[in-house]
């Protein structure tokens, strides 16, 4: 098992302590709530879309360092992106955190989000890293129901 610092990288610890875009959005905006019943992580992702582009995105809630930092870095990465780009990023992110441990990390367009590559060594934590992204998808579809990782 690799060093814990691979999982808890400085960037992650920093975003956990000082989450960016940690607030609600004023209307008109859409939102969705995500819940990880395993550990009780609960977040709400707020979105403001204009002409298919994410004009603003934010989140609220409570969770572990991985889920909070993931939400924080996700919101930073998504501002100004089209819905299509956001979806592509989601796919890349998901591929990275669920890739086999010995596969090379494909950074692609992930940029800063690559700090979560260490998560793949901790299968029970993959859901923590992807909760924000699943919730984002629901917010894009403006689903009313709570999204669950289960």
């Amino acid at each position: 098992m690799s060093d814990l610092r691979e999982l808890y990288q400085e960037v992650i610890l920093d975003h956990n302590k000082r989450p960016r875009n940690f607030r609600a959005l004023d209307p008109p905006s859409q939102k969705a709530e995500g819940f990880n019943p395993l550990c009780g992580d609960r977040i709400t992702v707020h979105l403001r879309l204009k002409d298919g582009v994410i004009e603003d995105v934010s989140f609220e809630g409570s969770g572990c360092a991985i889920s909070k930092a993931s939400a924080s870095l996700m919101t930073d990465a998504l501002k100004g992106r089209s819905v299509g780009e956001a979806d592509a990023l989601f796919q890349e992110f998901h591929r990275m955190v669920t890739a086999p441990v010995d596969a090379p990390v494909e950074i692609g367009r992930l940029d800063k989000l690559a700090v979560f590559s260490g998560v793949r060594e901790y299968p029970v934590r993959v859901k923590c890293a992807s909760l924000a992204w699943h919730t984002l998808r629901a917010a894009l579809e403006a689903k009313e129901d709570v999204v669950s990782t289960e």
Partner: protein, 416 residues
Amino acid sequence: MSATVLSTPPEVFDVGRIRKDFPILREQVYGKPLVYLDNAATAQKPQSVIDAMVRSLTEENANIHRGVHWLSERATKSFEDAREKVRRFVNAADVHEIVFVRGATEAINLVAQTYGRTHVSAGDEILISTLEHHSNIVPWQMLAAQVGARLRVVPINDAGELLMDDYVALLTPRTRLVAIVHVSNSLGTITPVETIIGHAHARGVPVLIDGAQAVPHLSVDVQALDCDFYVFSGHKVFGPTGIGVLYGKHALLERMPPYQGGGDMIRSVTFEKTDYNIVPFKFEAGTPNITGAVGLGAAIDYLERLDWRAVQAYEHGLHAYALERLTAVPGVRLVGTAASKASVISFVMDGVHPHDIGTILDQEGVAVRTGHHCTQPVMHRLGVPATARASLAFYNTREEVDALVAALDKVREIFA
């Protein structure tokens, strides 16, 4: 248990010898010795339990209660011997008061769907408490929805103790059943079950006690308690999973309709009419977990070979030591500080989510549970989304508590 006076010197209890009885304690995790502090989730099994189950499968596997052949009679005897061991273990008056089920959860569902369906009606009340595990909440919610009854909840204070004045006030002429936990699985609180039962009985209300976390720590005497139902799971008391116990007073069990229909629970079947078997068989439809029952019987044998007073004194000392060490860790706050408490310790750490604590501890070989422990109302009431929980058994040591504290130092280092 924390009120127990140390009547036996801890030296009498040789934990090193006890640990040899549990083969899994020799395992390593990531090259470090396993420090198993998740006993409230499931307890480890002594070799004698494993051997008894292997013997059951290799030497006496047959179906029970129906074969005339030698092997079936032998399997039946082992299964029924296990029932008698359970009777002795909880001091039930009659072996027919012991119903084998899959676990505490199934036992509670059984009572809800048999006793509950026939004794609880629209407008009636079922009284539970904030401390309950989801398994002592949801079956009653389901019953309440089915019959139009109402669930009432005894509140707790910030220490995690039941508010007994509120309990008494919540016993109304509509209360049909009280279902309360004996030892809280998330906080370790030992509830005053004798007083709870006394008040309920004074009003003619029967009481179910969820003893899943109590039996590994306390001596339970259902006749002394005078509870109407007592439930527990085999795997938390050093036996296997998939076997558990419903104790019910004979007169109550007699009056209850069957739970599931099928083989073994009948006396005679025609297409016109079926006569049910006597208790407890009326509640044991289908081929039961024979090997599981044998394993549970062996676990009880194991516990009865120990000097239980010495075990309790040792566990009490270990619990006190763990509390002392944990409260000295900067940023750690205990959740659940009841005056009467079993060795289940929930805690949170400033600025670190319990899930992160769990992952880091795991890397040090220390197994704890993190999350809401299937007690979301407790977490909600105490204002924490989750806790880390170290739950101790009599095979744990002070060195293992030290390993937990050292691992927590590592958590602090990473999250500094």
